[in-house]
């Protein structure tokens, strides 16, 4: 069995907490309760016969006044890079955090989640921004924590990448 640290990274109010809640507890809430600091939830997945325990670190989002603490990021083997399809600025923040992630962690997998895709009429991301996201080289998912669309797939893709990048036996005790 493999146990691994995964961080939720993104601007504030993009839906990091909501994605974890949807994925782990199959719940969704309308109310915005911002996260301060870090909180961890656990979820197990089986990928191609291998059980993997994801320790999901839900971190406070970045805003103009505070960024993400590197202490919370260290030791992670994967990140879910989350942005809000209705807020252009959240993509710029995600790109900054992607850089912070590379600067802080040596070998790291990541998946891009463009969240709130249920709000089709409020889509605000430009083609140029999508191009920038594609250039990062990770898989991109259009998620909705509200409907649950693509949420499982995004986390599973991340788990798959983490497994692929880990030589067997490394990290976590083999069962």
């Amino acid at each position: 069995m493999i146990r691994t640290k995964v961080c939720m990274l993104g601007s504030f109010a993009v839906g990091k907490t909501s994605l974890v809640r949807r994925f782990v507890h199959s719940l969704f809430g309308d109310r915005y309760l911002s996260t301060l600091g870090a909180r961890v939830d656990k979820k197990s997945l089986v990928i191609d016969g291998t059980k993997i325990d994801l320790m999901l670190w839900d971190l406070a989002g970045k805003d103009d006044y505070q960024s993400v603490r590197p202490t919370h990021l260290r030791g992670a083997s994967g990140c879910l890079l989350v942005m809000d399809s209705t807020r252009e600025h959240s993509v710029d923040v995600a790109l900054e955090l992607h850089q912070l992630m590379l600067d802080t962690i040596d070998q790291v997998s990541f998946v891009v989640a463009i969240n709130k895709c249920d709000l089709v009429d409020e889509w605000r991301l430009s083609d140029r921004q999508l191009e920038q996201l594609r250039a990062l080289g990770g898989p991109i998912f259009r998620t909705s924590a509200l409907t649950g669309d693509e949420v499982e797939n995004a986390f599973a893709a991340l788990a798959r990448q983490i497994l692929a990048s880990k030589p067997p036996g490394e990290d976590g005790d083999p069962s």
């Binding site: 504030f12 109010a13 915005y32 301060l36 600091g37 870090a38 805003d63 103009d64 202490t71 030791g75």
Partner: protein, 350 residues
């Protein structure tokens, strides 16, 4: 320093702190209730860290071990975090790693009300930021709408002014686009780039004041007629000057300066080099480029390489050499503008 017999253990308790010593993996003094709720063995004075109990504290302890090993000075702080107890209740904590007298210590602090307060503040700040973002979005949209309306008005007025003239509507539009492209390449701020796109099409506005017998005269103009014709620059500037609107003020500079030469041999004032406003030096280049590349009723279109030779010959004579170099660098963009906005047959109406 005098030794005191401070009741350290009680002090820790009162302050909602727990102190853990890394060497023997034990807590100093009794475990506070909140820690026992999070990790039951704490009641026996030991602390087990695994991912089921205290996963964040355990992760931080790993970083703290490296910190102690490196013999780093000062302290390492975890920042606030929330651990969940067996009953699903969250406890907000913050940990600090320190070395005192060679002992590696981890101070665990329960944040309690301070955390609630900080969350409330954060919440308010972020809700404000969201409102601010939304407002900025609305303003940006309104501004873009306004720009579009201004541009439409300008194009229609210019079309009216050009009714007697040979200029096509497409020429007018292209001049705006080339000028904006060149200004952008020169690093102008976005708002000023928008201004020149709006302003440059008005460069020949003064031609409305030129009598038909001169403006429409086939063949060469006499010296006197030429002098009248040259007056379109000052006439245009006169119509546009003293505006409160930046784009219109720029249009006045362009109307006045687009026939000035870099070497001072142009008109109407014989200004040279940097004395000619940059916006006018830009339009001087793109106006000649576009006019020569397209046919008019009185002349055919020249092939582009001839046009470029013509411009090159006049580098640092008629045209600002630095701007001309940038223009040449951006030729592909200029060509694309030409392709996307061709003259529509005979849209000259005159």
């Amino acid at each position: 320093m005098t030794r005191t017999d401070l009741p350290v253990v009680q002090l820790l308790e009162r302050l909602d702190l727990a102190l853990y010593e890394s060497r023997d993996g034990r807590l100093l003094g009794d475990a506070p209730d909140w820690l026992t709720e999070l990790a039951p063995e704490a009641s026996k004075g030991s602390l087990e860290f695994d991912d089921d109990a205290l996963p964040i504290l355990g992760d931080f302890l790993g970083q703290a071990r490296r910190f102690w090993q490196d013999g780093a000075r000062g302290r390492l702080r975890s920042g606030p975090f929330v651990e969940t107890d067996a009953r699903g209740r969250g406890h907000a904590l913050e940990a600090t790693a320190l070395r005192i007298d060679g002992r590696s210590l981890l101070l665990i602090e329960r944040l309690g009300e301070d955390y609630e307060l900080a969350v409330a503040n954060l919440q308010t700040a972020r809700e404000n930021l969201l409102v601010q973002e939304e407002l900025e979005r609305i303003v940006a949209r309104r501004t873009a709408d306004l720009r579009e309306r201004e541009e439409e008005l300008v194009y229609r007025l210019i079309r009216a002014a050009n009714l007697r003239d040979n200029e096509t509507g497409a020429h007018i539009r292209r001049i705006g686009l080339y000028s904006a492209a060149l200004a952008r390449a020169l690093g102008w701020p976005a708002a000023t780039v928008d201004d020149i796109r709006l302003a440059s099409p008005m460069h020949d506005l003064g031609k409305v004041g030129i009598p038909d017998r001169i403006l429409l005269k086939p063949g060469r103009l006499s010296e006197d007629e030429m002098a009248v014709m040259r007056g379109h620059t000052s006439l245009g500037a006169g119509i546009l000057e003293d505006s409160r609107v930046p784009a219109v003020r720029m249009a006045a500079q362009i109307a006045a300066g687009h026939h000035e030469w870099w070497n001072g041999e142009g008109y109407p004032r014989g200004l040279a080099a940097e004395d000619i406003p940059e916006c006018a030096r830009i339009v001087a280049i793109v106006d000649v480029y576009d006019a020569m590349c397209h046919a008019r009723s009185y002349k055919p279109a020249f092939p582009e390489d001839r046009v470029l030779d013509y411009l090159r010959e006049r580098r640092a004579r008629q045209f600002d050499p630095r701007l001309l170099d940038v223009f040449f660098e951006r030729l592909p963009e200029m060509r694309r503008i030409r392709e996307l906005h061709p003259d529509e047959g005979m849209d000259t109406a005159g």
